[in-house]
């Protein structure tokens, strides 16, 4: 049995290192001794069958769960942050990890634009000196607000939401809500962007636009992306690095091409004996030649 664990990109230092991560809920082991590394300027995809523990990994990374065992190290500007010891909001604020949610969580009564301004809360809060500078309208706060507006505008253009900036977030169509959630995460100025199934529910056109957006975030912004995704066409097309989970364990880890030919992965997705009877569309989905 080969277990791929051989991804070592040149010139891209490690950004996020997960070591021996284990998460138990009572008797249930959701993640079992998982180790992997996400690199700078890389799109790392975390894939696996339903219930493999992918979202649980995200929740551990972003402080919603405290892992039972393990260490999660995030590098930012030469400093190491141990995420498993930090409160959720500090992980975003200090370590620069931003995330989206599987079932979109927007501030739905607020406008699209407000969503992006709120995301720059910490920066603006410092500038407003606990609201005092803000209440008095000091220049220091005004210039910070201007910058925040510019950043928000940048991401509105980037995600094609500029025209709808003053609409309530809840009035956007589904695909636009997904993009807004990504824009909101980017407005926190992260080093690592964690996306939980961003392509779920998108049509092929939207899915293609999403690919472009993610590639641009990686290449133009130089930000690491960690991605949970079921849509293999997205995964295979844009990721640089794929980590495969099954029942909370890592079963494969490598470049997309290597992973998709790994027998462990094929087995996990299709079961032991069914390789031969593979329906063509599923085979295409996992990237196998029938």
């Amino acid at each position: 049995m080969s277990q791929l664990d051989n991804y070592a990109p040149v010139g891209k230092p490690a950004l996020l290192t997960v070591e021996h991560l284990t998460m138990r809920f009572g008797g249930l082991v959701a993640i079992d001794d998982l180790s992997f590394t996400a690199h700078e300027r890389d799109i790392t995809a975390l894939i696996g069958p339903n219930g493999a523990g992918k979202t649980t990994v995200f929740n551990c990374l972003t402080g919603f769960y405290k892992p039972t065992v393990g260490r999660i190290t995030m590098k930012r500007e030469g400093q190491d942050y141990l995420l498993e010891q930090m409160e959720g909001f500090r992980i975003t604020r200090l370590a620069g990890v931003a995330r989206t949610f599987q079932n979109i969580r927007l501030f739905s009564g607020m406008t699209v634009f407000e969503n992006l301004i709120v995301a720059q809360h910490n920066h603006l809060m410092n500038a407003s000196m606990f609201s005092i500078a803000g209440l008095l309208g000091l220049p220091r706060y005004r210039s910070a607000e201007k910058e925040a507006i510019e950043l928000a505008k940048f991401w509105l253009h980037k995600t094609g939401l500029y025209e709808r900036a003053d609409n309530p977030a809840s009035s956007l169509p589904y695909g636009a809500q997904r993009r807004l959630e990504i824009a909101r995460a980017m407005c926190t100025k992260p080093r690592l962007l964690c996306l939980d199934e961003p392509a779920a529910g998108l049509n092929p056109k939207e899915s293609g636009e999403l690919n472009d957006l993610l590639l641009s975030i990686r290449t133009d912004q130089g930000i690491g992306v960690l991605l949970i995704e079921h849509d293999m066409s997205v995964v295979m097309k844009i990721s640089d690095h794929v980590v495969v989970l099954d029942y909370g364990r890592k079963i494969s880890d490598g470049a997309p091409y290597d992973v998709r030919n790994d027998e462990n992965v094929i087995k996990a997705y299709l079961g032991e004996d069914e390789d031969e009877d593979l329906p063509p569309e599923i085979a295409a989905d996992v990237g196998m030649q029938p």
């Binding site: 809920f25 979202t55 995200f58 929740n59 919603f64 949610f101």
Partner: protein
């Protein structure tokens, strides 16, 4: 010393039985629709008024044996109060099940104020006394002129509560209704898909909760001999504290919490200060919610993201 302690223990248990019965209503409703039924204390208060009125009517008709009178009043009170429980859910909660998160809470508070004021307007604000229905008791101990006594009334209250608890647990565990209830607690959508009549199940939960609160109201009327339109507020908060202390959502927890709160109140009044007995109970509520929000027998909630 020991006698005094024993006497307080008996008093506390009696009080605890009353709180426990109300607490079950909170815990069941919370279990099934995940909201605090703020109006539940008022349902209890209405139960106590209906029982008072029934007693007065019975005594004006003529002589009944005390036990027989209590049984009749019990039945009448449970039925009428249950209709109140049903109506409250139907009017104030059901239409708001999918509304924004503060709406059902505010509606419940409005309902509570409404019911309290309703009784005040139509029954008057003065305290309502009731002549004792039942006298006497059993002397358990006598020592230096201090007797530890358990009154017949206390015996009836405790026995009735234990009986109701047993019957009730059987209903939840063994009948189709109980199964539907547990199904709705787990996942309302799925239960509906599998053919459980969710609306009816929730209605019946309110009806059962109200019927138990009615029993508690009856006991309160008999035990204290005086009621007013305001008793639902304090009793409601205390019973809610009991439900949280026991672990909200857990039936045995509600009963355990009720008994503990009854004992805390009795002993606090006896040994510390009667003026601050309510403060003591409120402090318990605050401390439990801060340090152990799942209560003694509750299951921890895992936050889903």
């Amino acid at each position: 010393m020991m006698d005094y302690f024993l006497q307080q223990l008996i008093n506390g248990l009696t009080l605890g039985a009353v709180y426990g019965l109300i607490a079950i209503g909170y815990t069941m409703v919370y279990g099934i629709i995940g909201m605090i039924n703020f109006a539940h204390g008022e349902i209890f208060m209405i139960g106590s008024f209906i029982s008072l009125i029934s007693f007065l009517i019975l005594s004006s008709i003529g002589a009944f044996s005390a036990v027989f009178a209590i049984l009749i009043v019990l039945l009448v009170t449970m039925i009428f109060t249950a209709v109140f429980g049903w109506s409250v859910e139907r009017i104030a909660y059901r239409p708001l099940r999918d509304s924004f998160k503060l709406a059902p809470l505010i509606s419940a508070i409005g309902m509570s104020i409404f019911l309290q004021s309703f009784v005040q307007v139509f029954q008057g604000a003065r305290p309502k006394p009731l002549q004792p229905i039942m006298h006497g008791g059993i002397k358990l101990l006598e020592h230096d002129g201090f007797a530890v006594q358990i009154s017949y009334l206390q015996i009836i209250i405790i026995l009735l509560t234990v009986g109701l608890m047993i019957g009730f647990t059987a209903v939840i565990q063994q009948t189709p209704l109980g199964r539907s209830q547990r199904a709705c607690e787990q996942d309302r959508t799925m239960a509906a898909l599998l053919g459980v009549n969710v609306d009816r199940t929730i209605s019946l939960t309110f009806v059962m909760g109200a019927a138990l609160a009615a029993v508690a109201g009856l006991m309160f009327t008999l035990y204290y001999g005086v009621i007013d339109f305001f008793i639902g507020f304090l009793a409601g908060v205390k019973a809610f504290t009991a439900a949280v202390l026991g672990g909200i959502g857990s039936l045995p927890g509600a009963m355990l919490g009720g008994v503990l709160i009854g004992l805390i109140e009795a002993f606090w009044s006896a040994y510390f200060s009667i003026a601050y007995k309510d403060v003591a109970v409120f402090m318990v509520l605050v401390l439990v919610l801060i340090f152990r929000p799942t209560g003694l027998l509750g299951r921890p909630e895992v936050e889903k993201v």
